[in-house]
Structure formats: structure tokens, C-alpha cells
């Protein structure tokens, strides 16, 4: 199909052998001599004032080498709670000891006096006036109040004219919206297009529902861990299990007031990230502080229980959604009001509420989103942050509309999808994306058009869109005298990105993939490279690698020109040799010979440099179809078929791409059917894998992946980020399939057996 020889081919991952032999070094494998074991002292209350923290008994315990509290944090950035505890498990102090059991015992000996406060865990409770306030009276206004308040502010600012009458009228109007005063608001996000009221007025069918999506954990296999070693000169080395070593370096520098050059962050092999492995203060800062104080290396490693109580999972949310369409199937208006459970700090991905727009032409759209404080840990990214939640609501409701107007769900979506050149917000137009191609591909592959369903069986379809990010990156590539190629960069390998980078460089330098090796540096030795999240790595580092290889390619031709005394225009790099295009008989020189020759030239060795920061990304679509069977008596749902297509732009390594499609789809399935962090008065009540269920291979048939390639103009070889899109549609795919099977619309995830039985009973089963 393509003229490429290495990219576009399935090759073994560069890290395959070290992974399967156990040679890969994870964070917990790091054990410098004299290492101490750190333990974080955690709150046993979900909401309380701290009256006192007494570490004196713990300090006396033999083997305890350091105890730290917020007093030890020079920047004052909140690492440990000081006066108020906001969630169960919040860090209060940390201990380093010669043995993990001693550290744990010392942690128990630290006495904390609390004044217990009322707890709020539910976002819809937290916004009420009666709710306890986590951060004082942090009230913000509701959507209508906000518009009025904006007008008041604008009029107040106009000092040249007297608006006092208008202002007092507007102020009186504020009283009309008592239900729109929300409390415990951490952040808000609003956007609109068209005229929402007019839009709904023109609709034949309007559907309104409230969707509730639970907080879920990234459940990476490797818990957070860091090993820190501060030496007598003040130099700090941190072995960190992280997606972004450079972000950890700057985070530590900022929090602890250490110069950047005095910090070296060594990223260890990552046991999964999914967006949850960027946090600085979770383990890295405590480890550094403990090492500075004790003068010895310290490991801080979270248990699985700590991961649940003090990880940074994906936010749950409540989305009130309203959609209207005409009887002939045109979606005219959609309005969302979303409350995201942000936990004790802001940071929930509330901006993703806009994803309810989907990839459809919706002329009238209004979205209001709020982050809400509750007594839970903060949240972080999880694979397409915020998109699965918003798309669950949007795609569930589309099926309800399709049903009411009697239109096939796939046809209804195809009819409303945006096309190249359609206007999109911010004055731009839609680029060429394979929206329809991807949905058609999954429908064809799944057999949608002649689908059959037995009793209690049903089919569901949904699509989800996402656009990869990009970030700054640097890559060096060196060619050695044996013709081998070595790559240096600083981004963590995630989802096989080192493999993709190696393929790109092999392709350009026309060498076998096997002769390319990749060296990921620490922050002391690698050029600045982006964090490995937001599906950026193959896009950013792939582009960077391409630039580096092209730079090396240029140097190779220069060398050959010099060596062969030929004009560069008459030379071509092919199969690891530079050929003289017009030579008869053929004449060529091996890459290794040129590399050897380069060592004695004025220009010097072959080193290519690539540096890249930003280019417009192109959206990607994931489309999925599931066939399920629901047991109406037990409420259990079995997946009979799950097909996932995705517009990946260009699959640099098709097997790795399929792996991402499968993995994302399974995580989406899990969120739909079983995963849920549950909270009681005191905090998380299922902090472990017994009652926080992640699916096993027995729960699903093999996910059938379908790769669609509509190239992205700025992606390397047209590639788009592939990691995040596949999780986005699955929640709705499953809910839509269950609806088709037994006629119940589950709007509150996960679709547990009990909920299904209850819903069927209220339907008269």
C-alpha cells in the first residue's frame, strides 16, 4: 500500500525482551545503599480541623531517621495538611525509617488531635447551601446569574455613565434564580453557540436526562513510587515512576526551592500511567524532603489502598443534558449543565463537557460546567480526560432521539456528522477527518446492517472524538561506524512510543529497524522532552525524530559527496548505502563507512538534531459497536461481540495501534459495567481490587480492531495520537446495547446487575 519499509509495519517493541524477562527496572527495583523506607502519615478523618500534630513519640522509636510535616516545605505549597483536613487519607506528615515496619509503626505513633467536621461526598449535595464548605464560602453563580453578574460588572466598570438604575434592576433579577446558587465551586467553564432557546423551539423531539458517571481510578499496575537521594552538595537525584520527568523536575524545584540544575530526575520503566502519573507531591516531594532531612536515600512507595485513597483518579460527574432534533433527523440544539466532582482541590477536567457536541453539526449549543469540591482526593487525567463522561451522556441521548424519530442509530449519526469545511468554533473550519469512514468501517465490520439479535440480546453503537496534544521535544540521532544508529531523547516510553520513534528513524536513514537503538536520558542528560500524556508522544516525538533523522540524512549526503566527489543532487540514501544515481556500473558507499570517514573530517561525526514544539493536531474518531446479552433475572450482561474502529491517521506500528484500541475499549467497558470508586461518610469504601473490580480477559470476547487511516497533515507520516480516543465511546456503546437488548436506559454508571434488575422491574419485568 505504502512505499514505506519500516513505518506502517508491525515490529517487535524495543522493550519486548526486557519486559518479558523481568529485566526492566521499575521504581521499586531501585535500591541504593543505605536506603530508608518512607511512610506517609494519613488522615483518619474525611473533614476535620487539625488541633495538633505530635511527632514526639514517633521520633523516639529506634530506627526512625526523619519526620517531616508542612513546616519542612519551604515554598509553603500544600504538601501536607496543616490546619484543615479535606479528605480521608490526606497526608499529614511523613516518616523515614530503616525498615518499612518501623516506618509504619512510627506513622501510627504520630498523634493527631482533630475537630471533626461534617462531610460531603456527593456533588449534588455539595452545591446546596446546607452543605459544609471545604474552602470557606466559595460560592459561584449559576448560568443565568452569571450572565447577569457579568452585565452588572460591565456596567459598573463604565465610570463615564450612570447605570445605577439598570444595575439595581439587574440585582433584583438575581433573586429570580435561587436554585442557581451553587456552593463549593472550584472552577467553571461556559460556552455557547447559536441561539439555544430558538433551537429547541424548532425541534420536533426534545429529550432530557441526567447522567451520573462515577469516579474511577486509572488502576495502573505499578503503584506510585519514588526513590530520592540528596547528597552533601545539595544535589538531588530522584528515581521516579512518572509520565513526565521534566515536569517532576520543575515541580520539585518549585515546591522545594531547589535550583533545576541541582535536580536529576531519572524516569524508571512505567507500570502504566493513563494520565495518573504526573503528580509531583504524591510521593516525589516527600521522598526528597525525607532524604534531605535524613541524609540517606529514601523510597516512598504507595500501597494499593493508598492509591485509592490518595491517588488522583478520574472525576465523576453529573451531567444534565437536553437534546432536540427534527423528525427528519437533524439535531438542532443541545444543552448541558455539568457538575464535576473535583474533590478537595480544583483540577477536574470540566472543560471536556464541551465534548457533548461530539462530531455533529449542532447549530445551537450551550454548555455550563462546574467543578465541585467534595471530601475526596483531587483528580487528574485519565485517558482522554473528561471525554468518556461527556460522550457517555451525549451518545446515550442520541440513541434516545434516534429511537423516538424511528431512525437507525448509525444512519442518524452519519447524517449529522460534520464534514470537511464545516464551521467549527473559533472561526475555524473542520479539517478532513474520517468521521463517516470510521463509523461506516465499524458498522461494516460488525455486521450492523444485517444484525440479528436473539431474546434479550441487543446491539449498541457510539462514537467518541479526541484530539492529541503536542509539546516540546528534542531528539538527537547518531550514526556509528558499523552503520548502527542510536537515538537520544527524554520522553518516557508509553504505549510503545520508543518503538514508533525507532521505526521513523530507521525509515528515514534506510537502515534495518534492528540496527536502531534508543536511549532515554534522565533530565540531566536528555534534551527537554514532553511528558508522555495526551497522546502526544508519537505525534510530537515522532515529528522531532523525523527532523533529527532528516538532519542526519543531510549530513550523510554531504559526507558522501565529499568522499565520492559527487554532487549531492546525484546521491541517494537507500538500503543503508549512499548510491550514485547516475553511476554505471553502480557505485555506492555504506553508511558505516561514511560514519567512519566522518571521524576524520572537518565537519565531524554524523549527529542529527530535531527540535519541535507545536503544530495543529487533527481530531481522531473512535467508533464502536457491541452486541450484548442481558440476563433479565440476574441483571448480568455478557458481551458477545465488541468491534472498535479508529481513524488513526497512519498506523506507524499496526500491532501497537491495535493494542491501544483494545486497551482503551476494555477500559471503557470497565467504566461502563463495573468500575466505580464508592464513598461513604468516611471516604472511599472500596480501596482495593476486591471491591473495585477491573475486568479480566474472561469478561470480554476479543476486541476486533479496525484501523482507518485518514492522514493528519502535521502528523509524522500522517499519524495521530492513538492512545486516548478508544476509551471515549465505550461507556455509551455498552449502555446503548443494554437498552437495545432489554429496553432499559441506564443513565447512572456502572451498569451493575442490581440496577438492571431494578430497572427491568420498574418496566414491569
Amino acid at each position: 500500500m505504502s512505499d514505506y519499509t519500516v513505518v506502517g509495519q508491525t515490529v517487535a517493541r524495543v522493550d519486548a525482551v526486557e519486559k518479558v524477562t523481568g529485566a526492566a527496572q521499575y521504581g521499586a527495583d531501585v535500591h541504593p545503599p543505605g536506603m530508608l523506607y518512607g511512610k506517609i502519615v494519613r488522615s483518619k478523618q474525611a473533614h476535620a480541623n487539625i488541633l495538633s500534630i505530635d511527632t514526639s513519640e514517633a521520633e523516639k522509636l529506634p530506627g526512625v531517621k526523619a519526620i517531616i510535616t508542612q513546616d519542612d516545605v519551604p515554598s509553603g505549597r500544600r504538601v501536607f495538611a496543616t490546619d484543615k483536613i479535606l479528605y480521608l487519607g490526606e497526608p499529614l506528615a511523613a516518616v523515614a525509617a530503616t525498615d518499612p515496619d518501623i516506618a509504619e509503626e512510627a506513622a501510627e505513633l504520630i498523634k493527631i488531635e482533630y475537630e471533626v467536621l461534617p462531610v460531603v461526598q456527593d456533588v449534588m449535595e455539595a452545591i446546596k447551601p446546607s452543605a459544609p464548605r471545604l474552602h470557606g464560602d466559595g460560592t459561584k453563580d449559576g448560568p443565568n446569574r452569571r450572565e447577569i453578574a457579568t452585565q452588572i460588572r460591565r456596567l459598573t466598570r463604565d465610570k463615564e455613565n450612570d447605570h445605577s438604575d439598570e444595575i439595581s434592576k439587574l440585582e433584583a433579577e438575581l433573586e429570580n434564580y435561587p436554585d442557581e446558587v451553587y456552593y463549593n465551586i472550584s472552577a467553571e467553564s461556559h460556552s455557547d453557540a447559536g441561539d439555544i432557546e430558538k433551537g429547541f423551539a424548532e425541534c420536533d423531539v426534545v429529550v432530557e436526562d441526567t447522567y451520573v458517571i462515577p469516579r474511577v481510578h486509572q488502576t495502573y499496575m505499578e503503584p506510585h513510587v519514588s526513590v530520592a537521594s540528596a547528597d552533601s552538595s545539595g544535589k538531588v537525584t530522584v528515581w521516579a515512576s512518572t509520565q513526565g520527568p521534566f515536569a517532576i523536575r520543575s515541580g520539585i524545584a518549585g515546591t522545594l526551592g531547589i535550583p533545576l540544575t541541582q535536580i536529576n530526575v531519572i524516569g524508571t520503566t512505567m507500570g502504566g500511567g493513563f494520565g495518573g502519573r504526573f503528580g509531583v507531591i504524591i510521593t516525589h516531594v516527600p521522598a526528597v524532603l525525607l532524604s534531605q532531612k535524613s541524609g540517606r536515600p529514601v523510597r516512598v512507595q504507595m500501597t494499593r489502598e493508598e492509591e485509592f485513597t490518595d491517588g488522583r483518579p478520574a472525576p465523576g460527574c453529573v451531567i444534565k443534558l437536553k437534546t432536540g432534533a427534527t423528525n427528519d433527523g437533524r439535531i438542532l440544539a443541545r444543552q448541558a449543565l455539568a457538575f464535576w466532582d473535583s474533590g478537595s482541590v480544583s483540577g477536574a477536567s470540566i472543560g471536556s463537557t464541551i465534548r457533548v457536541r461530539g462530531v455533529y453539526k449542532i447549530p445551537n449549543l450551550k454548555v455550563d460546567a462546574y467543578g465541585v469540591h467534595t471530601n475526596k482526593s483531587g483528580t487528574a487525567a485519565y485517558r482522554a480526560p473528561g471525554a468518556p463522561q461527556a460522550i457517555f451522556a451525549g451518545e446515550s441521548q442520541l440513541d434516545e432521539i434516534a429511537e423516538r424519530i424511528g431512525m437507525d442509530p448509525v444512519k442518524f449519526r452519519l447524517m449529522n456528522m460534520r464534514e470537511e469545511g464545516d464551521p467549527i468554533p473559533a472561526g475555524a473550519t473542520e479539517p478532513k477527518v474520517g468521521y463517516k469512514e470510521t463509523l461506516e468501517a465499524v458498522a461494516d465490520a460488525a455486521g450492523w446492517w444485517d444484525r440479528e439479535a436473539g431474546e434479550n440480546q441487543g446491539w449498541g453503537v457510539a462514537v467518541g472524538d479526541w484530539t492529541n496534544g503536542c509539546g516540546p521535544g528534542g531528539v538527537y540521532v547518531a550514526v556509528h561506524e558499523d552503520g548502527s544508529v542510536r537515538i537520544f531523547h527524554g520522553s518516557m516510553d508509553i504505549t510503545g512510543t520508543d518503538t514508533a520513534i525507532s521505526q521513523i528513524i530507521a525509515e528515514i536513514l534506510t537502515v534495518p529497524y534492528e540496527s536502531v537503538t534508543i536511549r532515554r536520558g534522565d533530565t540531566d542528560s536528555a534534551p527537554y522532552s514532553t511528558g508522555s500524556g495526551g497522546s502526544v508522544v508519537t505525534f510530537t516525538m515522532g515529528n522531532t525524530a523525523k527532523l533529527a533523522a532528516e538532519d542526519a540524512h543531510q549530513r550523510i549526503l554531504e559526507l558522501a559527496s565529499e568522499r565520492l566527489n559527487m554532487n549531492v543532487d546525484n546521491l541517494e540514501l537507500r538500503d543503508g548505502e549512499v548510491h550514485v544515481v547516475t553511476a554505471d556500473p553502480p557505485k555506492s558507499i555504506l553508511l558505516g563507512e561514511l560514519a567512519a570517514y566522518s571521524l576524520s573530517t572537518t565537519g565531524g561525526p554524523i549527529v542529527g538534531k530535531g527540535s519541535f514544539a507545536r503544530q495543529a493536531s487533527t481530531p481522531a474518531l473512535a467508533a464502536q459497536i457491541a452486541k450484548v446479552e442481558v440476563d433479565p433475572d440476574t441483571g448480568r450482561t455478557r458481551v458477545l461481540k465488541l468491534v472498535a474502529s479508529q481513524d488513526v491517521g497512519f498506523a506507524i506500528n499496526p500491532m501497537a495501534v491495535e493494542g491501544q484500541i483494545e486497551g482503551g475499549t476494555v477500559q471503557g467497558y470497565a467504566w461502563a459495567m463495573m468500575e466505580e470508586m464508592q464513598y461513604g461518610e468516611d471516604g472511599n469504601i472500596n480501596p482495593g481490587f476486591v471491591d473495585y473490580r477491573v475486568p479480566t480477559s474472561a469478561d470480554l470476547p476479543t476486541v476486533e480492531s479496525v484501523i482507518v487511516e485518514v492522514p493528519a497533515p502535521n502528523g509524522p507520516y500522517g499519524a495521530k495520537g492513538v492512545g486516548e480516543p478508544p476509551i471515549t465511546p465505550t461507556l455509551a456503546t455498552m449502555a446503548n446495547a443494554v437498552k437495545d437488548a432489554v429496553g432499559i436506559r441506564v443513565t447512572e454508571l456502572p451498569i451493575k446487575p442490581e440496577k438492571v434488575v431494578q430497572a427491568l422491574q420498574s418496566n414491569g419485568h
Binding site: D101, M674, P753
Partner: protein, 282 residues
């Protein structure tokens, strides 16, 4: 994990003498104990391994098809025993529901029972097998019926120093079946578990036994439902009555896994299904 003393006695008498001391725990497969010790929910001063005591593991079948299962028999061996599969299918099916294969290769049936979780997956199968539990101590031996063994969650009639040595399954059932209500296909804990066993005489049910797990503080038999079935041919109506009766026997709790109401409903549904399947197999 706290420090502890580790003993590997080679006789039951010695093990019993050690186990009679306070703050001791027996180690069989370790799949519950070691996790508890790591989480500090268990902090025994002494751990007494049963692994060096001969004769505690294995499945033996007598000429009358009565079966003896040693307490140290691995759950995986119970699951795969052809005799248990044939004569006490519900027990083999229950064993197959525990954890993963790796766990089942370590865990023992004695541990699964002595741990006294109302949700143990082998317990419903043992209940419908009418299992007799042999118990040894330094003072001698005694036998209790499986339905008299448990006194509450984590609690049994075992006195200090008493060790379960074997389960005797006196009479085979020609048909039995176990169903566990769960969310995940494998490696899940029972929301509830139901086992049924029957013999048939000319199409008439005899020896009906129904065992319920995770629906009461201890595993229980649904005797009302059994009485309804015994002496009758199975009809849809009878099945419905048996389901109702079994649900009435349950006194489940609501917890983070599901509500008491859901558990009761599932006792009804799964009793009907297990009884039907047991009769089909008989």
C-alpha cells in the same frame, strides 16, 4: 507484617498443643492469612504450618461412593477431582469459583472453611453434600456436621487447639449445581452463592438439599424449600415456591456490593436455577 514465630509441627498433636496457645494462627495455603498479616488485620505471635503433617491432603473414595476430602487438599484438587465432579458437582463448581488458578493451587478447602466467611465458595457445596467435619485436638477427635460448624462471620465452634482434619461426604447426590452471583466472570467474591443437590426416584425428588452462602451471618440450609421439593416431581410452580421459600430463609445485609433486597431476589432466582439444573443432572 509483624514479627512472629514460625512452627512446622509434624504431628497433629503437636500442632494442636501449639495452636491451643493464644495469639496463634494456623497456616494452610496462606491465601487469606498472609494477606491479613500484611495488612495487619492479623498479627499472630505464632504461625503454625500444617504443611509438614502427613495425611491431611487428598481425596479418597470408598466403595459406597462416600468421599473423604483432607482439610489440606488444595482447592484446585477439589475442583479437578473426578469423583467430586461426579458425585458432588456443586462442590467442584464452587471450588472452581475461588480466585484464580494460581490461588486455587495454594488455597486449601480446610482454610476456605475454617476462615468461616459466609461467602466461601466451597461452603454451599459442602452444605448440600451434608458434609461431616472431622476435628482433631490434643484431647482426641470429634465430628460436627457442616451446618453446625459456623456461629457467625469468622466464627466457628472450634475450641482453642482444635484443627479441621477432613470433610466426609457420606452420600453422593445424583445431581447438584452451584451458582455464584457476581459481577466479574472470574476472580470475584460471591454476592451470594446457592447450591442445590437432589436424588431422583422415578422422577420424584428425594434428599433435596439447598445451601446458601453470603445471605446470613453464617452459611445456611434452606430447609423449608427442601421440604417443599422432597417427595414431589419438579414443576414450574413448585420451583417458584422453592425459590420463594429459600429467599424467605435468607437474612442478608446491604453493603457496598449490593442491597439486601437484591440478595434476597437473587436467592430466589438462583435457587430456581440450581434446583432445575440439579434435577436435570440427576
Amino acid at each position: 507484617m509483624r514479627n512472629f514465630e514460625f512452627f512446622e509441627p509434624t504431628t497433629l498433636a503437636e500442632a494442636s498443643r501449639l495452636f491451643a496457645q493464644e495469639h496463634t494462627q494456623l497456616l494452610a495455603g496462606g491465601t487469606d492469612l498472609v494477606i491479613g498479616m500484611k495488612a495487619l488485620t492479623e498479627a499472630p505471635q505464632s504461625v503454625i504450618s500444617l504443611q509438614k503433617i502427613p495425611g491431611l491432603a487428598g481425596v479418597t473414595t470408598e466403595s459406597d461412593n462416600s468421599i473423604s476430602v483432607g482439610a489440606m487438599t488444595k482447592v484446585r484438587a477439589v475442583e479437578l477431582s473426578a469423583d467430586i465432579q461426579q458425585h458432588h458437582t456443586a462442590l467442584a463448581e464452587g471450588a472452581a469459583e475461588i480466585g484464580s488458578i494460581q490461588i486455587r493451587n495454594l488455597a486449601t478447602i480446610g482454610g476456605n472453611i475454617a476462615h468461616a466467611s459466609p461467602a466461601a465458595d466451597t461452603v454451599a457445596g459442602l452444605l448440600v453434600a451434608d458434609a461431616q467435619v472431622d476435628i482433631a485436638s490434643a484431647d482426641g477427635e470429634r465430628t460436627v456436621s457442616i451446618d453446625e460448624l459456623f456461629t457467625g462471620p469468622g466464627q466457628t465452634v472450634l475450641a482453642p487447639g482444635e484443627i479441621i482434619t477432613r470433610f466426609r461426604l457420606p452420600s453422593p447426590a445424583s445431581g447438584s449445581h452451584y451458582i455464584k452471583h457476581k459481577i466479574r466472570e472470574v476472580m470475584d467474591l460471591a454476592f451470594i452463592g446457592v447450591a442445590a443437590a437432589v436424588n431422583l426416584n422415578d422422577g420424584v425428588i428425594t434428599d433435596a438439599r439447598i445451601g446458601l452462602a453470603a445471605v446470613a451471618p453464617t452459611p445456611i440450609r434452606a430447609t423449608e424449600a427442601e421440604n417443599l421439593l422432597n417427595g414431589n416431581q419438579l414443576t414450574a410452580e413448585l420451583l417458584a415456591q422453592a425459590g420463594e421459600a429459600a429467599a424467605a430463609a435468607a437474612s442478608p445485609i446491604s453493603d457496598l456490593r449490593c442491597s439486601a433486597e437484591h440478595r434476597s431476589e437473587m436467592v430466589n432466582v438462583l435457587t430456581r436455577r440450581t434446583v432445575q439444573e440439579a434435577v436435570n443432572r440427576a
